[in-house]
């Protein structure tokens, strides 16, 4: 149910994002989803890739600081209010969202929201119970 996400530390310096993306590209890693959190001094690049292990290998070789953690991918209908429905359930269950990012898929009429909350297992249970679709890792990696 949980999807592997890789986060990479980015110093706020010219060309650093390029270096990371370049290293991944050269290792044949295709990025499925991506977001950047930035502060005035540093940023965190978060990515979802089909093959996390080869991505980690490439990052290690490049000397980047990174880690791997779990997130959940929720499918919401691609219409106004779609995201609100999912967030409402989390809020009702007293779950805090640490961060999220979304992308619209090519083929289907839905958007995928990548979520990190303070309790992933509880989130999955609550969302499922309310009939919101949670994507399998395989589905996300092959989007």
């Amino acid at each position: 149910m949980k999807v592997k996400q890789i986060s990479i530390f980015l110093e706020n310096k010219k060309g650093h994002l390029l270096e990371v993306v370049d290293a991944l590209g050269k290792a044949g890693v295709n990025i499925r989803a991506l977001s950047i959190a930035d502060t005035s001094e540093f940023g965190i690049l978060r990515i979802i890739v089909p093959d996390p292990d080869s991505a980690k290998k490439a990052l290690k070789k490049g000397g980047f600081t990174f880690n791997e953690n779990d997130v959940i991918a929720v499918g919401v209908s691609d219409r106004p209010g779609g995201l609100a429905a999912a967030l409402k359930i989390l809020s009702e269950n007293d779950i805090n969202v640490e961060y999220l990012y979304a992308f619209v898929t090519k083929s289907e009429e839905r958007a995928v929201v990548v979520l990190k909350t303070d309790d992933l297992d509880k989130s999955i249970k609550a969302l499922k119970k309310s009939g919101i679709s949670i994507l399998q890792p395989k589905e996300v990696y092959s989007l």
Partner: protein, 431 residues
């Protein structure tokens, strides 16, 4: 275990007399046999006869590392080269290495002080000492070796590295005393734990030195290895390890002051400081034949405490080294050592001591930025966590040095690493 009870527990008055006799002898010996000292003494218009009390030592000129480099390779020797039976050198990270030569009696002296040091850690002829200090030009390996053999312990001369083999020997032989750098010991502890062999380790004490370490590391080592983690101090110029060693009380390192006379001076004024005050350690070898050292400036910052230790020894105790006087920086009038910042960093979980201190003076006021490399261990996918760590480092540094600093997180390896020692301080102030 007290190796040389008479010397180590000697009443203070009696020892002072011994020190004075030896001081007078070594000063005339150096004057007569080393042209460098004769010239220095003459420049200061000092004669060996001017030394009539221990406090007269302050009349003598200092000796510095640069002087030893100038005399490279054998210029500081007080005996013909053929009487030197062993030579060691310091690492020489900056310029020429420092050479030290030992006569047969110097090696005997070294063995004695190292036998004392290992005995302070509880070593007897029943013990197996696994010596992970490097053998070779570095004094660590052979220093422990001579001391261990003097005691009659079983010395395993393994040097550092080959962790698997270290662990195998440690568990199969039943090593009881480990001698290594504290960082390597921590590394070994982790490896032992990973292999699930912690229960097979029989270590009772570790003699750790050759690099700066902290009380936190002591706690960590004692917890992981279930041993007494003790501090050893020494330097190539004086003899190597064995200048000072902690006893099981762990309240400071007993200096072998009957052989190495300690003073604490202000690194700024070069004047002696009262007992208990922190300053630069200056050492005079009282009996070295091959290469006597008169008032050698160690650049190490420590303080001295006198009195009878609970262990029974009367040898003066020095505190753990807290910094290097040549690293000393003055920020807003406050003296700061990079090592203080380093220790503060190490107090934050997951933070590695890869840092750089940048000092600027943008508006007539000094500002300090500490750049800290983000290690894999401290990194998080959440901005909040990284900000928390950043703030925590700022707080720790502030409580260590009394100044607010700005901490910036940077990518690993963005702080340049020169051969061996990293450049810790970049002073961009235009004064």
């Amino acid at each position: 275990m007290i190796w040389d009870r008479e010397a180590e527990c000697m009443p203070e008055k009696q020892r002072q007399q011994l020190q004075l006799d030896r001081l007078k002898a070594i000063v005339s010996y150096a004057y007569e046999n080393v042209p460098f000292y004769r010239k220095r003494f003459k420049d200061k218009k000092i004669k060996p006869e001017d030394i009539n009390s221990l406090s007269d030592i302050t009349k003598l000129p200092f000796t510095e590392k640069a002087d030893l480099r100038e005399g490279y390779p054998f210029g500081m020797f007080a005996v013909p080269r053929k009487e030197i039976i062993e030579i060691h050198t310091s690492s020489g990270t900056t310029g020429k290495p420092v050479v030290t030569g030992y006569t047969r009696r110097d090696i005997e002296l070294w063995s004695q002080v190292m036998a004392r040091a290992l005995s302070m850690a509880g070593a007897t002829s029943d013990d197996i000492i696994q010596n992970c200090y490097g053998y070779g030009l570095f004094t660590g390996g052979l220093g422990v070796h001579y001391g261990g053999q003097k005691i009659g312990a079983t010395v395993v001369p393994i040097s550092a590295g080959q962790t698997k083999r270290q662990i195998q020997i440690m568990t199969d032989f039943g090593t009881t005393i480990l001698t290594s750098t504290p960082s390597y010991a921590l590394y070994l502890a982790e490896a032992v734990n990973e292999e699930g062999l912690s229960r097979k380790v029989k270590l009772k004490a570790g003699v750790f030195g050759a690099e700066m370490w902290t009380e936190r590391m002591r706690d960590e080592l004692e917890k992981r290895f279930n041993l007494h983690a003790l501090n050893i101090y020494g330097l190539t110029e004086i003899i190597g390890p064995g200048v000072a060693q902690e006893c099981l009380e762990k309240t400071g390192l007993h200096i072998a002051e009957d052989y190495f006379y300690p003073e604490i001076i202000s690194p700024e004024t070069l004047e002696p400081l009262p007992e208990g005050q922190s300053g630069e350690l200056v050492l005079t070898t009282l009996t070295r034949e091959g290469m006597p050292m008169i008032r050698f400036r160690t650049k190490d910052i420590t303080s001295l405490t006198r009195g009878v230790c609970k262990c029974g020894r009367t040898l003066v105790k020095m505190s753990r080294i807290t910094g290097r006087s040549d690293d000393m920086i003055k920020i807003r009038g406050v003296i700061v050592f990079p090592s203080q910042i380093e220790r503060a960093l190490l107090e934050v979980k997951g933070v590695e001591p890869h840092y750089q201190i940048i000092i600027t003076r943008p508006h007539h006021l000094d500002e300090i930025e500490v750049q800290v490399e983000v290690s894999q261990k401290m990194f998080s996918d959440e901005v909040k966590r990284l900000e928390e760590i950043r703030k925590k480092i700022e707080d720790k540094v502030e409580s260590a040095i009394g100044l607010r600093v700005k901490v910036t997180l940077v990518e690993p390896k963005s702080i340049p690493r020169s051969e061996g020692k990293a450049k810790r301080v970049i002073d961009n102030r235009k004064l």
